[in-house]
Structures are given as C-alpha cells and as structure tokens.
Amino acid sequence: MLSIRNIVKQYAKHRALDDVSIEIEQGSVFGLLGPNGAGKTSLIRIINQITAPDQGEILLNGEKLNPSHISKIGYLPEERGLYKKMEIGEQMLYLAQLKGLSKADATSRIRYWFEKMGIQSWWNKKVEDLSKGMQQKVQFIATVVHNPELIILDEPFSGFDPVNAQLITNEILELNQKGATIIFSTHRMESVEQLCDSIALIHKSKKILDGKVKDIKDLYRNNTYKIAYSGVLDSVESSLFTISEENKNEKGTHLTIQINPGFSSNDVLKFLIPKVQVTELTEIVPSMNDIFIQNVKN
C-alpha cells in the first residue's frame, strides 16, 4: 500500500533520514519504532507531504505521492493542538473541509462520530473549556473523519487515561477491520505487541530492523527455556544444554537453560522425565521491548 523507497532527508548538518526503505501492506497495523530523535517524525512529515525528501520516493497504492493523496491520509501528530477560541463543531467542520469533504458530508460524518463517542453536547463548546483528554478525543475524530485509507498516529496514547486509551484502541482496530491501514509511531512496546502486525525500527536516522512482529520475534529466539522440576538431578549432561541460572527452594528447582544447537526441547524432556518430576517448561521469547533495547544499545 505504501512504499517508502530510499528516503534521505538532510537538515543543514544533520541527516534526519538516511536511505530509509519500508514497505507497508494494505490493511496492516504497522509500528514505526525508534528512540526519540531517531527520525520518525521526519519520515511521517514526508509521508504527509508537509516536507519533501531530498532523495528517494514514496508510492501510495503504486502512485507517486501527490496532493490528491491528502484526502486519503489522516494524521494525528504527537504534539496535539486545536484552535482554543473556536467552537468544536465549527472547528471540526473546518478541518474536515480542508481535507476535501463537502460541508454537508462533513457535517453528517462529524455527527456520526460525535454520537459514537458520546460527545454530541460538545458541538458549541470551545476547546479551551475541555480537559486535555477530551481535546484528544476531538482530535482523534478530526484525524479519521474523512475516512482515510491510511491513518498515521504519532504516539496516540500519550495523555490518555486507561479508559480512553482502550476506547481509542478499539476504534483503531475497528477502522483497521474496515480496511484502513494504520501506522503507529510509538516507543511504548506493550501497545506494539498488542496491536501491530509489522514494525520497522529506526535508529540514528537509519532503519535497522523491519518485518512482521512474529518473524522478528522468531529471529530473536535463542532456544532459551525455563524449566521447573521437583526431585534431584544427579548429573547434567552438558552436551544437551547449558544452564544460565539456577534457583532451588523447598518446592523444587527452577532452571533457565539454553539448548545447544542440534537438540530440541523434546530431547531435554526425554532426558529429564526419567529422573525428575517436570512441572514446567516454557520457551522464553524475547519481548519487543527487549528486542528494541538490544538493537538500540548495539
């Protein structure tokens, strides 16, 4: 759906993006990850045609990005803001019309969303009279009111309380099911695991990792298992696995092991079952958080 090809963006002496290429599939929820200052916002601004890249190109549905695509993209920036003195209904109408909706269309869509969010009574309120969380709801509506094919959310959950965060999450997933492609920019890894199909990790202006979440996790599995058993193990065959951690208490023994190449968890079980009572064997799969930290630190 979206092909980002060899994008370079240079600001005076600072290179914000260095030859970044990313493919985002139709209908996916894509996580754009990276520490602060990595270049995420620069990339998002280029996708939104706020700035232009120095090199490279971006294709949306196979077409080179152009002004007609503005109405197909919805963007929620990280730094939120609205016109404080303007009434909310009027403000929504203005923003929706800027995205290319007719006034009649805009009005009915805004009504629909206000009802959905239970905020019909806010139409004539001024933004300055709303709490921060309420303002963010309004902004979310402004982002999606024109039914965009591609929704870009920059740190969508910052500032939301857990109830509203869940509400927004559900709305995002619903839009995704209806066919919208979602790009998330975040450094909150728990929401990435919960929502994203694929990710790209940008660090120091370069893409250092991308792919499906599952594939990436598989890639970072290193045959580490947690084993719990009761009974006494008199000898440990060192060719099968190496123990990295051992804890003993009255209930039994907890081991963290790494299985040596050429063997599987079944081999370990075959070895253990005749000798001890195995109560637990789980693979330790690295979390996205671990993968993120590991990559950024290297």
């Binding site: 920036p77 730094e79 803001g81 003195k85 203005y94 923003l95 019309q97 800027l98 402004a142």
Partner: protein
C-alpha cells in the same frame, strides 16, 4: 484554491464575530462624533461665563478703557487696590486688573482673582494694553498714528492649481488634514493588523494545530489565507468606520444647526448674538472641509496603499511569527520592521510636509517600504499620475517579494520548536530546499 478560501473565511469570520471587533467598529465613530460635538458645544457655550474684569488704572494712560471682547468684559473701578483685593478674597467671580502708576515702555501689570484667568483673557488684555501704549508712545515721539494706520498694506496670497483642466482653488487645508489622517491611519493599521497576523501564527504554532492544517494545505496557502483574511477584516473595519462616521456626522450636524438657529433667534442681547455668530467656526469649518475634499480620488488611493502596505508588512510579520514561540521573543525581529515605518512617519510630518516635491519626498513615496505612508502625505499637494502609478506598481512588486521571502522562512519556522532563533538561522531556513 477552494482551501485557501476556507482559510480566508475562517480567519475573517473568527475575528469579525469577536466582541472586540464590534466594540471597536462602533466606538471609534462615536468617539469621533463625540469629539466633534464636544468642540461644537464648547464653542457655543463660550458666552456664558465671561469674566467681568474691574480695572484699576493708577497710571492714567489707559483712560480710554478696555474694549469688551467675547472672552472678557471690562469696567473701570473706583476702588483702591487694597479694597479691590478684599473683594477678590470674598467673591470668587471677581477679577481685578491693577495697572501701577509707574508703567511706561515696559513693566508688569497684575491680575488678581481666585480662579486662574484663562489664556484668552490674558491675551486680549495684553494686546489691548500694548496697542494703547504703542499709540501713546508713537504720539509722544511725534509720529502721526492715523497716517501710520493708513499705510498698513494688506496683501494676501491665494494658491490656485493650474492644470490642463483649468484652474481651481486648492483648499489645501482640508485636503492636507485628510492626507495626514490617512497617513496616520495607515501607519497605525499596518501595526495593528500586522501584529494580528503575527499573533495568529504564533497561536497556531504554539497550539500545534499548524501541523494538522499543513498536512491538508501548503504552508504558503495557510500564510496567504491568514494575511488576506485579516486584511479583509481591516478593510471591513475602515468601510464601517467611514459609513458610520459620515452617517452620524450628517445626523449630528442637522440636529446641532437646528438648535443653533433657534438659539440665535431667541437670544436678545446684541453682544451675545454676535458672539454666537462668530463661533460658528468649528462646526461649519468641518462640514465645509469634508465637502471640499475629493473623496472619489483619495479613498481608492488610500485603500490601494493600505492594502499594498499591509500585504508587504504583514508578510514580514508572518515570518517573525513563524520563527518564535511567544510574543516576548519577537522583539529582536520586530526592529527591522518597525524602523522603516517609524522613519517614514517621522519624515512625513517633519520633512515631506514642508518639501512635498523634493527628491527625498519623491523617493520616500516611491520606495515600497515607505510609500504607503509618505504618499498619503504628499497626495494633498498634488502628485503626478505617473508617480502614483510607479509607486503602486513598485508596492505590488514589493509585497510579492516580501511574501516570497517570508513564505520560505515561514514553511520551515512553523515546524521548528525549542530553538532560539537568530537572523543567521532565518537565512539558513530561507536557503532550504522544499
């Protein structure tokens, strides 16, 4: 294109609907009319509280007495100085003029009263006393005063404008006043509306709405939409002021003249009636002056120069607004914008007025950064059409240029946060590619 109209509409209506706009729109003409009415009322009232001055003349020189004037009446007093002083202490409306015996060519004459005597009273006394003293001194020196009065020449110069269309009286007074008023109005409104543009941009930048908006429109469209929208607000305000003022003025003058005529008829004392007739100055002058001014010529030129100057300067204000994050940071960038305006303003009222056709005045009214103010001051003295045309063309070129420069700074500035910006930095932004 439809998007820029949306932006213009928002900028326009969000301001026109504000209470402060309505208040300003009605308050200014009411204040103008109020001032006009006050001047009129004061001039009508002048006759009521004329000080009656008692004159003690110890010198015996001024035995002709002093002539009654509209500012004061005079009466010879038989009291001694001490008695008269007592009277002043007891009576707050008493005025006593004491002329000492040893007065001659120079000297001091004293006026005693509880209330301070007005300048016009003092002036009329001084001039009368000096006249009489002069006559006496001339007579003493053997000069025939009657002869001297006869050979007082009375020449006057009337200025006539001679053009191909014939000659006409140039009532330069009223035209000049209108020209000056226009220049002051342009000077003030360039600041008022320019700063509104700047504030609007700072608001969009600090509230971060700008990022949402420019994901829908180009930064240039947003900037131009704002400038045009606010310019239309200014234009609306002017037009409302002009219509309201003229409307109110017509109504007010009708009411007042009717009242004045009645007053003249009903008032019996001859001297008071004379006083009333001679004070028709302020009221009549304004009406007459307003009628002599060629509005169909001045008004369109005023609007062209206001719009041109506004576009030129508001683009610069826009660039400043985009570079900063709060009003307090704007100062260093404001200076280069304020200086040419202030310079022209000062030059207009100190130099151009006296030398409207000098080459400096010419250049000030041609260069786009100074022409909106300078041209308004030169206009009443007659400006050839080719100069006017050249000035307007250059003004248009000027605002296209400043808009271009400003938009290059603006597009980078509105997305820059947390940076202390210098002029060098602005230069860098200007050079950035798209």
């Amino acid at each position: 294109m439809s998007k820029i109209i949306l932006i213009i509409k928002r900028e326009y209506f969000s301001r026109v609907k504000k209470k402060s706009f309505l208040v300003m729109t009605f308050l200014v003409p009411i204040l103008i009319i109020g001032m006009y009415a006050l001047i009129f009322a004061l001039s009508m009232q002048g006759g009521d509280n004329i000080p009656a001055v008692e004159v003690i003349d110890d010198s015996g020189i001024f035995n002709k007495g002093l002539e009654n004037k509209k500012s004061a009446t005079f009466r010879k007093s038989e009291l001694s100085l001490a008695e008269a002083k007592q009277k002043v202490i007891k009576n707050e409306d008493a005025f006593v003029l004491y002329i000492p015996g040893n007065i001659s060519n120079g000297g001091t004459i004293e006026m005693f009263s509880q209330k301070k005597a007005g300048i016009s009273v003092i002036n009329t006394i001084e001039s009368q006393l000096n006249d009489q003293m002069r006559t006496k001194l001339l007579a003493d020196a053997g000069i025939d005063v009657l002869m001297l009065d006869k050979i007082k020449p009375k020449l006057s110069v009337v200025s006539k404008e001679l053009t191909l269309e014939g000659e006409k009286d140039s009532s330069s007074g009223a035209a000049m006043a209108v020209g000056f008023a226009a220049a002051i109005l342009i000077y003030m409104s360039l600041f008022i509306y320019g700063i509104q543009v700047m504030r609007g941009i700072i608001e969009e930048k600090t509230s971060r709405i700008v990022e949402v908006v420019i994901s829908s429109v180009k930064p240039f469209q947003l900037m131009m939409g704002k400038i045009v929208g606010i310019g239309l607000v200014g234009l609306t305000q002017f037009l409302l002021w002009i219509t309201l003022s003229i409307g109110l003025m017509t109504v007010a003058s009708q009411v007042m003249f009717k009242g004045k005529m009645d007053q003249i008829k009903s008032e019996v004392p001859m001297n008071k009636q004379a006083a009333a007739v001679s004070t028709d100055g302020p009221g009549m002058d304004i009406i007459k002056a307003v009628q002599t001014v060629d509005w169909t010529y001045i008004l369109p030129i005023f609007i062209i120069f206001f719009l041109g100057g506004y576009m030129l300067y508001s683009a610069l204000f826009a660039a400043v607004g985009s570079a900063v994050e709060s009003d307090t940071e704007t100062q260093q960038f404001m200076l280069p914008i304020t200086l040419p305006l202030l310079f022209t303003y000062i030059m207009s009222f100190s130099f151009i007025v006296n030398n409207p056709d000098s080459s400096l005045s010419f250049w000030l009214s041609i260069i786009p950064f100074t022409s909106p103010i300078a041209m308004m001051v030169r206009l009443p003295f007659g400006v050839p059409n080719w100069e006017l045309a050249l000035s307007i063309i250059l003004l248009i070129a000027g605002f296209i240029f400043t808009t271009w420069v400003a938009s290059r700074i603006y597009r980078v500035g509105i997305l820059m946060y947390g940076k202390k910006v210098s002029f060098a930095e602005l230069g860098k932004w200007f050079m950035y590619k798209e």
